[in-house]
């Protein structure tokens, strides 16, 4: 494809602006109050009461069907594609049936927090509905059941570890029931939901004819039929509404537009899509069903849309459909999925700092024949992303050695347009290579998609990652435990007693104690994961996500929340490796090599958080010790060693009968959250300050030898050998992209890192002065997007300390 790219089409794409409809939506979206709707709750309660005593799989299917048949729907005048989970431009549904009464503020003043700085107030009628729902579901959700099971296994340890920010708080943040990232879009568009229904019916008939044994399979296929039929009926409700609106419409063009919507919604998703418009509309109805099945985990993931949509796109263009029409439809759905909100728990808002549900879209990458598949739709995707200027979706360019420079050049220009981070670059060959090493066949591995930030997943396998809700832990926090004999920041004995820290006589002893804490800690986390998995399927099922998400569900006749030895994958993120390694390097230099301090003196300084003049003196001394990110072999080598030893402990855990844990070191804005669990460190970081952002970025302000030295250190750390993903953020001043030539040089720079097995890189292309001004005058910078360890976010919506972090990161003025 690269060789035959249509340059004139790319030129026409470069000239495209957003359509009038897209712009009308953009204005409405910016102005729209964020709404939380209790409507769905009314129907979950009704259905749950009606199905009392039935099989769980069927109950969950009927619950979704009841919601889809009754939920209030709306079509907005600017809609190219129709379908939203609420009647509002920005809104989300509550899901007490999934997670219990987790919505903070619900029962007190009705003020519901949506993000760090956005909230909404529920009216009395909605609160009454929610109260009733709590009466039905509270105490009976998997989250609550999991916490009870954890308590019986490890007492208060799970809560304590979470309070000390040593493990991820995802469970209380409502990340449950997440098991896959992207629906099987190719199959959905190829066979339509009727094709799925027919296949389920055939399997049921065969089962009966064969007199098979495992009757739960029948329940699964039946549940799938129920939800698939309900999605088709839901689409028809939109068709009917479009007809109704059309008959009252006086504007001829809008009337025709509504009638077209009606025709398309009548046809898809039941039938195979015949063109680009039908494909996008079919996707939206399926995704809508997925969102309403589990609103707490409603991420809208595109996967490889430039691949499965390309035939529709190319055929429509050949048939004379204007490029502008296709672009407008595409932009509508990108924008809609990028602005989907969800109700979050407090700790998720702290740890993720995101405003919208995570949506992700891929461009480029290798195909089944091991050739790069970048095409004009990849190019259009980047172009529309630059025009939309949204913080979501995350856009991932699948870099490989055959990625064409025309796509790379557009990608760097898109970074400049969006002020950075979009798209990020992730190494196709590293990800595919890791999957193949883990026993996944190439033909599956090559279709990987990113889950949100940079976490890769396979559309063909269930991802049990989020379902455990415990999938990350904090190596800087573990070092804190070592330096306090297992006592955490809150004074609790959360860790192993590895001995009086003042008694250590070498850095090797401390390193050994760190690995001992790691094993103690990670194994407990894995136990918690196993408990969560066991509990989950007793309380919850996702028939629609299963049937449309994982193709194997059909043959297995099994909901994907029931773990499968082959099809379930497990992930873990071991974070803050750089903080821990730099701290050990500094400690070794100061105490054991240069002997400038005794260990006791250093520990006293840390415990006082470098208080007083002497404390500041010691902190400066700590800061001046060798740091990762400067191409200093000793510092980088310790990062590599800790990376590999940490990976080994995780990989060695026997997860039988399931697959071993995969490691993916993504970042989010977690470094801020994780820092709250860590006292002062020997690398010179003060207590409770943010940790390093990303998993492979240097300590902030410590990378003094320029960007190429950071890259060389990153290569030396060699995360790619053990981790599917690792996040390296680099901030460049926009002055480096002042000319076509300098854009080509950043392309060459990116290519060089990736060719050396770098797994991920993303750029912030921003001036410090601009960021400071944005902090002082947020009203003038509503559109300013920055990257925080894998996510884009609106700068002005970040907390002040994260804003300072972004400003502080050493800027390479070139």
């Amino acid at each position: 494809m690269a060789a035959t790219v249509d340059n004139s089409l790319c030129g026409r794409i470069d000239a495209l602006d957003l359509s009038a409809r897209n712009k009308a939506w953009h204005r409405a979206m910016k102005a729209a109050p964020w709404r939380v709707c209790a409507d769905r709750e009314k129907w979950t309660v009704q259905s749950w009461r009606e199905t009392e005593g039935e099989d769980l799989q069927l109950r969950r299917a009927k619950l979704l069907a009841c919601v889809l048949d009754n939920l209030e729907i709306n079509i907005h005048p600017f809609d190219e594609i129709v379908g939203r989970p609420t009647p509002f431009v920005i809104g989300c549904a509550t899901a007490i049936d999934v997670n219990g009464d987790y919505i903070p503020g619900l029962l007190s003043d009705g003020e519901v927090a949506l993000t760090l700085d956005a909230s909404t107030t529920l009216d009395d009628a909605s609160r009454d509905i929610l109260r009733e729902s709590i009466g039905v579901f509270a105490g009976k959700t998997m989250r609550e059941a999991t916490e009870r099971a954890w308590e019986s296994l490890v007492g208060t340890w799970a809560r304590d570890a979470e309070a000390a920010k040593l493990k991820d708080p995802s469970l209380d943040a409502a990340i449950t029931g997440q098991s896959t990232s992207t629906l099987s879009w190719s199959k959905i568009l190829r066979v339509g939901l009727r094709g799925y229904i027919d296949e389920c019916q055939t399997r049921i008939a065969d089962f009966i004819a064969r007199e098979d044994a495992d009757v739960s399979k029948i329940y699964f296929w039946q549940s799938a039929v129920i939800v698939l039929e309900a999605v088709i009926r839901h689409a028809r409700r939109y068709a009917a509404l479009a007809h109704e609106l059309a008959s009252a419409e006086t504007d001829a063009a809008q009337k025709a537009h509504l009638l077209k919507i009606a025709e398309v919604s009548e046809y898809v998703p039941e039938n195979p899509a015949r063109n680009f418009h039908e494909a996008l509309q079919s996707m939206q109805f399926c995704n809508l069903g997925k969102m309403l099945e589990n609103p707490a985990q409603n991420n809208c993931h595109w996967g490889r849309s430039d691949q499965y949509l390309y035939p529709f796109f190319a055929r429509d263009l050949a048939n004379g459909i204007p490029l502008e029409t296709l672009a407008s439809q595409f932009a509508d759905l990108i924008g809609r999925w990028g602005t989907q909100t969800f109700v979050t728990g407090e700790s998720q808002r702290e740890s993720h700092q995101i405003n919208f549900g995570i949506s992700s879209i891929m461009v480029g990458g290798l195909g089944q024949d091991n050739e790069d598949k970048s095409n004009e739709l990849s190019y259009l995707t980047l172009h529309l992303i630059a025009l939309l200027k949204l913080s979501s979706p995350t856009v991932c360019l699948r870099w490989n050695k055959k990625t064409p420079n025309w796509l790379m050049n557009k990608a760097i220009r898109t970074n400049l347009e969006t002020k950075g981070g979009i798209p990020l670059f992730e190494n196709d060959e590293v990800v595919i290579g890791n999957y193949v090493k883990d026993g996944i066949p190439f033909n599956e591995a090559v279709e990987w998609a990113s889950l949100g930030c940079v976490y890769p997943c396979l559309p063909t396998r269930a991802e049990q990652y989020g379902a455990e809700g415990i999938a990350a832990f904090n190596l800087a926090g573990l070092l804190h435990l070592v330096l306090h004999n297992g006592v955490d920041i809150n004074g609790k004995q959360t860790g192993l007693q590895t001995g009086d820290p003042r008694g250590f006589t070498s850095v090797d002893e401390i390193y050994g104690a760190l690995l001992a804490q790691h094993k103690y800690f990670s194994h407990r986390i894995f136990w918690l994961g196993a408990v969560a998995r066991n509990v989950q399927s007793d309380y919850y099922r996702t028939p629609l996500l299963s049937i449309l998400g994982i193709e194997a569900s059909m043959e297995l006749g099994q909901d994907l929340l029931i773990p499968h030895p082959d099809y379930s994958l497990y992930g873990m993120s071991d974070r803050a490796i750089i903080d821990a390694a730099d701290s050990l390097t500094a400690l070794n230099e100061l105490v054991f090599k240069q002997k400038k301090l005794t260990l006791g003196e250093l520990l006293d300084a840390l415990d006082s958080d470098f208080a007083g003049e002497r404390g500041e003196e010691l902190r400066q001394l700590c800061l001046r010790q060798p740091k990762y990110g400067n191409d200093i072999p000793e510092a980088d080598e310790l990062v590599r060693r800790l990376s590999e030893d940490s990976a080994k402990i995780i990989r060695d855990y026997d997860n039988a009968p399931f697959r071993r844990f995969m490691i993916s070191r993504e970042g989010l804005a977690w470094h801020y959250f994780g820092g709250l669990g860590v006292g002062a460190l020997p690398n010179g970081r003060r207590a409770l300050e943010p940790l390093n952002d990303g998993s492979l970025s240097p300590m902030r302000g410590a990378d003094k030898n320029g960007p190429t030295a950071v890259i060389r250190s990153a290569c030396a750390a060699n995360y790619s050998g053990v981790s599917y993903a690792s996040v390296l953020n680099q901030k460049f001043s926009s002055s480096i992209l002042g000319s076509d030539e300098s854009i080509d040089k950043l392309v060459a720079y990116t290519n060089a890192y990736m060719a050396a097995d770098g797994s991920h890189i993303q750029y912030n292309i921003i001036d410090s002065a601009e960021l400071k001004d944005a902090k002082a005058n947020p009203e003038n910078y509503q559109d300013l997007i920055v990257r925080i360890g894998g996510f884009s976010a609106y700068f002005v919506q970040l907390s002040p300390s994260i804003q300072d972090d972004v400003i502080f990161r050493s800027e390479f003025s070139l």
């Binding site: 190429t708 060389r712 030539e741």
Partner: protein, 302 residues
């Protein structure tokens, strides 16, 4: 093994020749251009710089200096350059980066080892290593030693020069350098002397020698508003370039900027062009067009 005093080895340099380059800045320059943006590279000896804005007035530098060269001045300090012996005890003592060391004596082997580390970027971008300064050809044997080893690794080498060095310096490095960036500050020798402290005849002769030797040369003109951007200068410069034949066909304009000003203050010396405005891009463009109209391929460095 040759040595040289190096102030900086800067990776990801994208305005100093083709591709991504590492620039090695050597200390010492025979000219004294009034607009010089790298005043720390004028003197051949290491120097200490003091960045007032980073000073927190802790006094550790004064305590560390064996010669009493740090003078307390209210809440802050200044350096008594007469007393400073260049031992950098103050810079070692400073926690805040307010006292910096300009220049460190390195062997050609040490510079080679550092400069070659970015080979992955040179290969992907068609880049390489550039010697700059100061005037790198004040140390031609050093440049030659490093360049020979870099070229043996397949790394291209560029030298940025003011041209005001003996011809023998060019002869020493000629076969180890891939191309030169060669400054032509004035066509008019008297004005050259007025603004740089030296006449330009040797510079013009060396330019001709270099072109006639078959070296690849990009001529560059630091464009100082109101100083060397007038029509008379432009016409005379174009005439000289055209007299060089095909080898003199290309000129790059380097728009004036004031980024070096802070370093003058750090070194405790005076910046003589403080009133000058930075170049207006429109004026630079019109100068570029003038050169083009005179038959010179002219670009602007960005």
């Amino acid at each position: 093994m040759e040595t040289a005093v190096v102030t900086n080895i800067q990776g990801y340099s994208i305005h100093d020749g083709p591709g991504i380059r590492t620039v090695v800045f050597l200390k010492g320059c025979p000219l004294r251009c009034k607009w010089c943006a790298n005043p720390e590279n004028l003197s051949p000896a290491p120097q200490v710089g003091f960045l007032q804005n980073l000073c927190r007035g802790c006094g550790r530098c004064a305590a560390a200096c064996p010669n009493g060269a740090i003078v307390t001045d209210g809440d802050s300090h200044r350096i008594d350059r007469e007393k400073c012996a260049g031992r950098f005890a103050c810079a070692e003592a400073c926690y805040y980066g307010a006292l910096v060391r300009y220049g460190e004596e390195l062997t050609s082997g040490e510079v080679y080892e550092k400069a070659r580390r970015d080979k992955m970027f040179y290969d992907s971008s068609g880049g390489g290593v550039t010697f700059s300064g100061g005037e790198p050809l004040t140390r031609p044997a050093f440049v030659r030693e490093v360049a020979e080893r870099l070229r043996a690794d397949g790394i291209s080498v560029c030298v940025e020069t003011c041209g005001f060095v003996p011809r023998s310096a060019f002869e020493t490095v000629l076969d180890t350098v891939d191309f030169f960036c060669y400054d032509l500050k004035f066509a008019d020798s008297a004005r050259h002397r007025g603004y740089t402290g030296a006449p330009n005849d040797r510079i013009l002769e060396n330019a001709r020698f270099l072109v006639n030797s078959g070296a690849e040369v990009l001529f560059r003109r630091p464009l100082i508003p109101g100083v060397n951007d007038g029509d008379g200068e432009t016409e005379a410069t174009a005439k000289f370039l055209k007299s060089l034949g095909a080898g003199g066909a290309n000129l790059q304009l380097m728009p004036y900027h004031r980024m070096g000003q802070a370093k003058y203050a750090a070194l405790g010396c005076e910046y003589e062009l403080p009133e000058l405005d930075v170049a207006d891009p429109r004026d630079t463009e019109s100068v570029r067009e003038k050169y083009e109209s005179l038959g010179v391929n002219c670009t602007i460095s960005k």
